[in-house]
């Protein structure tokens, strides 16, 4: 079933991809133009995904229950880290992300917080102050 869903998703993407290629015009002195190569790769992609829908492989084991919740929480943390890195600044956002992920991976509260409280400023000092990569210490939401 997983293979079928993946096949359908890739089929849909390649059909949209092929449809969009129709809108790209060719220029002078370029016999192929910008639309040909997308067609060359889009058509076999669609064909193979149809094959995958008709003859799917074995289903993988997806996580369920608590592990699935952990996965979703981890993904939410990763997205939150990406969105909050600038508004909060590198040190606070890294503290939250490292602490949160450590807890999700089964650390106890105090060691997780201590680890996060070490890693976040240590990375900032190492990379910003010592090696000169500019990182925002604190973001506009805090200062």
């Amino acid at each position: 079933m997983s293979d079928r869903l993946a096949g359908m998703a890739i089929l849909a993407v390649s059909l949209v991809y092929l449809w969009a290629a129709g809108g790209y015009e060719a220029g002078f002195g370029d016999p192929l133009g910008p639309a040909a190569f997308p067609r060359i790769i889009g058509i076999p992609a669609a064909v193979i995904s149809i094959l995958l829908i008709i003859w799917p492989g074995r289903d993988p084991q997806w996580a369920g229950g608590r592990r699935l919740i952990r996965q979703i929480a981890a993904l939410a943390t990763l997205i939150g880290y990406a969105l909050l890195l600038e508004p909060l600044g590198f040190v606070p956002s890294t503290f939250l992300a490292v602490g949160g992920l450590a807890l999700l991976m089964g650390a106890r509260l105090v060691p997780a917080l201590l680890t996060a409280a070490t890693i976040a400023p240590a990375l900032y000092i190492l990379f910003d102050r010592v090696m000169g990569l500019p990182l925002p210490l604190l973001g506009p939401l805090i200062t």
Binding site: Y17, A26, P34, G57, Q71, L85, F90, M105, L133
Partner: protein
């Protein structure tokens, strides 16, 4: 003789203080990444690339650093295989078979020393092979025209899944998905914006480096969330400097394993894992008369380690000479070179000999540094194995974010990275290899350019694609390979049904 003088020049490049420092740092970091379960050469190198960019190292120094990391990972992978029975990375799986039984019977230090020497032999022989064969292949590759390059890329995609590939359809599909993602952005020939959906962020396409960190590092975090959390017991290590007689036990196997591994490494789509498997299987068939293999035979430790180290050296050859990587890690290294505007391939040897030969010379030096790190100083790494994953993995996340953010200062790129992380996770779950995706992203534009160049030479006549003997030969090899791998996969399906 010409090669020797080039190599001598290479050593003057490698001996610059900055490069020497990078070799040492790379060897240490590489061994560490390799030894920690969950991090292997591909994600290790992928995480470090943004940092090399952010520091603004030139192409030669970046390449030296990453290659030292790459070699280091191959050495380090064996440490947790032997001490924990958990392979530190994929190529080290075979080392658990005899390494862990050896460690359990009280010979952990011996196993580490034998495999350390085997790694050294494998990697050094492969580096010598690289020195001798790469220039020859580069000379041959000068005769490639645009149509031949197109054929070469077709072959790279068709073969990257390897003979052992799970489902050839999925490998091909992965390649096409990578190629489709690679066409996003302004078309270089006409300036038409393709698949940008009006977003200015996408005019330059997806940054390959950002995509790589997502595909390999971020997806690893999501994979990790599924695992059972467990802490393994570490076997105590005795004396770390072994007796010479101990080393001798693995010497023959090391040389045999190196030869097999080196060939496996040069072949497209094979890489270090296959090198280790082939070396171990061969050694077992040759020498397993008393059933000692699998119960802690030193030769069973030496052969796969020599095999995977030799294969990783061999895999550098097609990457440097043809610009077509044979394994995941070399694909990632190719991504970095392309992002630094260095086009690997035959011309690289003529235009930037200091890069090629500086790199080769550094590999010799890295091997010596790694031998020292991995035998007398091995205790550092076995102690670091106690580091809990809940501290390590979040640290990796922070480094990845820091690196990607430092290149572009763009939160959009961070979101792209997470997006590729999810894609990588789903693909890995579905047994769809990520290497063809990377290859598609990387080579797509070049493949398209060569196709268009060939067809503008011929005025639009597609028969130019199959005119030269080189391209015909490449298509025949590709076809034979595809038929063979489809045949193998249908046969294994039948066997599974029975």
């Amino acid at each position: 003789m010409e090669t020797l003088s080039f190599l001598a020049n290479g050593f003057t490049v490698a001996a610059q203080p900055i490069n020497l420092a990078l070799i040492l740092v790379g060897c240490f970091v590489g061994t560490l990444i390799g030894s920690l379960p969950g991090l292997g050469p591909v994600n290790g190198v992928a995480i470090l690339i943004p940092l090399t960019f952010a520091f603004g190292f030139d192409a030669t120094s970046s390449m030296i650093l990453l290659s030292a990391v790459y070699y280091g990972c191959m050495y380090g992978g064996r440490i947790s295989s032997i001490m924990l029975n958990i392979p530190g990375d994929e190529p080290a799986i075979m080392t658990t078979l005899d390494g862990y039984p050896m460690a359990k019977s009280g010979r952990a230090a011996d196993a580490l020393a034998i495999s350390g020497v085997a790694s050294f032999i494998g990697a050094t022989l492969a580096t010598i092979g690289l020195t001798l064969f790469a220039p020859l292949l580069a000379k041959a590759a000068i005769y490639f025209g645009p149509a031949d390059y197109f054929a070469l890329y077709v072959m790279a995609f068709a073969t990257i899944g390897g003979i052992a590939g799970i489902d050839p359809r999925k490998t091909l599909l992965a390649a096409f998905v990578g190629l489709m993602i690679g066409t996003v952005g302004l078309d270089p020939a006409t300036g038409v914006a393709r698949y940008t959906f009006g977003s200015f962020n996408l005019y330059d396409g997806f940054d390959t480096i950002v995509a790589l960190v997502g595909l390999f590092a971020v997806s690893e975090i999501l994979m990790f969330m599924e695992l059972k959390i467990k802490t393994a017991a570490i076997i105590p290590l005795g004396r770390t400097l072994p007796r010479l007689s101990t080393i001798k036990e693995g010497l023959g196997a090391s040389f045999r394993g190196s030869g097999i591994g080196f060939i496996a490494g040069i072949l497209p789509g094979a890489g270090a894992s296959l090198g280790a498997v082939m070396a171990y299987t061969f050694e077992k068939q040759l020498n397993d008369k008393d059933g000692t293999f699998g119960n802690g035979d030193p030769r069973g430790v030496a052969a796969p380690e020599a095999g995977n180290n030799a294969a990783s050296g061999g895999a550098l050859i097609p990457m440097l000479t043809l610009g077509v990587p044979g394994s995941g890690t070399t694909a990632v290294m190719l991504a970095m070179l392309i992002s630094l505007n260095v086009q690997p391939g035959p011309l690289l040897f003529e235009k930037q000999p200091e890069l090629v030969w500086g790199l080769v010379a550094s590999l010799y030096l890295a091997n010596i540094a790694l031998l020292i790190l991995n035998i007398p100083l091995i205790g550092i790494f076995t102690r670091l194995l106690r580091l809990p994953s809940w501290a390590l993995m979040p640290f990796v996340v922070a480094i990845s974010y820091l690196g990607v953010y430092a290149i572009s200062h763009s939160p959009f790129d961070l979101m792209v990275m997470v997006g590729f992380g999810v894609l990588g996770f789903v693909f890995r779950k579905l047994d769809i290899s990520l290497v063809p995706v990377v290859l598609g992203l990387l080579l797509g534009m070049d493949m398209e350019n060569n196709l268009r160049r060939a067809l503008s030479i011929s005025g639009g006549d597609p028969s130019i694609l199959i005119e030269s003997p080189i391209s015909i030969g490449l298509y025949i090899v590709t076809g034979a390979f595809l038929v063979f791998s489809i045949y193998l996969s249908t046969r294994s399906h039948k066997r599974r049904d029975v």
